[in-house]
């Protein structure tokens, strides 16, 4: 049997009296797209924070590629191949789209104590960055400053930056947030093209996207995984329906 790329064991985080993550266990097999859904306040963002290292964990372990990364700082996890996109677009607004992605490439091409040569002239940074932009369909916007990009383009750029770090695991934190149907469809196509070559953990409210893309779905409610299975099983699960899907509002908007 293949070992999971990411194995989360009994991961717990308390904020005061609130248990934001309650003994979450989850395993992602290499190449799978695993979606985590759940109503607002279910603890999805806390879980992402724990996985990336921005939020410490009270209990439990995170194993990535067979290595315990529970205590590693954010940048070290990135070096190991764990990349993320942000729920709220988080880019370098005074740089161009290409600069943004090139910076992500640079983070993974040795140290940056290089003080003299112009970084914008380095093909070793610019070429892979262009490739990543191309993969998300932003090649023609390379030299546009982020401030001038549309919301949908920024969301695509988020993914391009994550891709440029050549990750083994991609954590996508609500990549469709605030997108119109057209942009969403474009992003679904982008993710579908990535599927298989990358392991992806997708946190998403857009159920059409989740059920169109996911190999497996886990449902997070009040910090707890209440169900895990393939999309058909999740649709049919009584507990899930009651806790989450039955709630018409949560279903559509979260």
């Amino acid at each position: 049997m293949v070992d999971p790329l990411l194995a989360i064991e009994a991961l717990t985080k308390r904020f005061g009296g609130v248990v934001a993550s309650d003994a979450i266990s989850l395993a992602l097999m290499p190449g799978e797209l695993h979606a985590v859904i759940g109503p607002n306040g279910a603890g999805k963002s806390t879980m992402i924070g724990q996985l990336t290292g921005e939020i410490g964990s009270d209990h439990g372990r995170i194993r990535f590629g067979g290595r315990d990364i529970t205590k590693l700082p954010v940048y070290r996890r990135s070096w190991l191949g764990l990349a993320r996109s942000f729920q709220i677009t988080s880019l370098f607004s005074d740089f161009t789209a290409l600069d943004n992605v090139a910076l992500a490439v640079q983070a993974h091409s040795g140290h940056s104590f290089r003080f003299w040569r112009a970084a914008r002239g380095e093909a070793a940074l610019r070429e892979p960055a262009r490739t990543a932009l191309d993969r998300v369909g932003l090649a023609d916007r390379a030299d546009t400053r982020v401030a001038a990009l549309s919301h949908g383009e920024c969301r695509q750029l988020e993914i391009a930056m994550a891709l440029a770090t050549r990750p083994r695991l991609l954590l996508l934190d609500e990549p469709m947030a605030g997108m119109g149907p057209e942009d969403s469809a474009r992003l679904v196509a982008t993710l579908r093209a990535l599927k298989g070559s990358l392991t992806i953990l997708l946190i998403e409210h857009d159920m059409d996207a989740v059920f169109a893309l996911a190999d497996r779905v886990s449902v997070l409610v009040f910090g707890r995984i209440i169900a895990s299975g393939d999309p058909a099983e999740i649709r049919a699960d009584a507990a899930v329906r009651q806790a989450y899907l039955g709630d018409g509002e949560g279903w559509e908007h979260g």
Partner: protein, 323 residues
């Protein structure tokens, strides 16, 4: 020179380039004018402008490009100055010793301050840098052997074994100007290098920088040390310029002046600190002739620039993008 001209980038003439060119030409030719008119005071004033522009340039590197708002930058002027003054008093007059010590001591101080302060951000960072600078200020007051509160006269400028005679005011001025231009070129190379992109990225979005794999702290710390060293050199120049050091040169209001120069000229603009230092010091000089309280005018002016003019004087000039 070819590289220095690249700081302009692109071609054609826009208001920014025109102003920069006029300022540089003016600075280059000023000694000729001063010699013709016998205006020794102008020479003294502009030497001060050039030296403090170097200090403001170093502050702009961390504040404008790195987002590290240091409110204790005058401490480096003091450390650089005291390095020269103390060594001179102890009979070590060689600039080949004095200046490296000034730069090295400033760098070590920056390393200590940065290692602590860069773990905090926002107001806490400002307060810690200020607290350290105040500490150094009071240490200088306590140095009885070196004049304490009254300061110390430097009877001999740094000796460079006949290579350069700093007592020659014109020569000293051109040396300061050359060092300033070298500094501007260095900063320009720096902020456009890989290192510079890390610093600017951390200013823009540090959280994202870490997420894509940058250990931002160490880069910011190195940048902080580079800026400190550069300002230490400015301090050594200043001590040679005034032939005098005193705790007053690192009073917290001096740090404020440097910040004003950087903001006024336009942060993230290569020539911003120079233009800011020149505007500030010339205005201060002119205003102090008509009023005892030049800050009554300078303060509101700074407020106006900070609130209404994005990018300082450089921002007013518009023109091509900077980078």
């Amino acid at each position: 020179m070819k590289h220095l001209l690249e700081c302009w980038r692109g071609s054609g003439l826009n208001p920014r380039r025109a102003v920069n060119a006029v300022v540089l030409a003016g600075l280059a030719l000023m000694p000729v004018y001063a010699a013709l008119t016998g205006d020794a005071f102008l020479m003294t004033l502009l030497t001060r402008v050039v030296i403090l522009a170097l200090a403001a340039l170093s502050l702009n590197l961390i504040m404008g490009f790195g987002g590290m708002v240091s409110f204790g930058h005058a401490a480096y002027l003091g450390i650089g100055g005291y390095a020269v003054g103390i060594l001179a008093k102890e009979g070590i007059g060689s600039g080949f010793v004095q200046w490296p010590v000034a730069i090295g001591a400033s760098a070590v101080y920056a390393l200590a301050v940065g290692a602590l302060s860069l773990r905090t951000r926002g107001v806490y960072f400002i307060m810690i840098t200020l607290a350290f600078a105040q500490m150094i200020y009071y240490v200088a007051i306590g140095l009885d052997r070196y004049g304490g509160d009254d300061g110390l006269t430097i009877y001999r400028r740094s000796q460079f074994g006949g290579f350069v005679d700093l007592d020659n005011k014109v020569l000293f001025y051109y040396l300061c100007l050359a060092l300033l231009l070298a500094g501007i070129y260095l900063v320009w190379r720096l902020v456009n290098s890989r290192f510079g992109f890390v610093i600017r990225g951390a200013r823009s979005n540090e959280r994202r920088m870490r997420a894509i794999g940058f250990p931002t702290f160490r880069y910011k710390l190195v940048c902080f040390v580079i800026a400190g060293a550069m300002c230490g050199l400015a301090g050594a120049l200043l001590a040679n310029h005034t032939n005098f050091i005193s705790p007053a040169m690192m009073h917290w209001t001096r740090s404020g002046d440097l910040m004003i120069m950087a903001v006024l000229g336009g942060m993230q603009a290569m020539f911003g600190p120079l233009i800011g230092a020149m505007t500030f010091l010339l205005l201060e000089e002119q205003l102090s002739r008509v009023t005892e309280y030049p800050n009554l005018v300078l303060g509101p002016l700074l407020l106006f620039v900070a609130i209404y003019v994005n990018g300082g004087i450089d921002g007013l000039l518009g023109g091509g993008r900077r980078g």
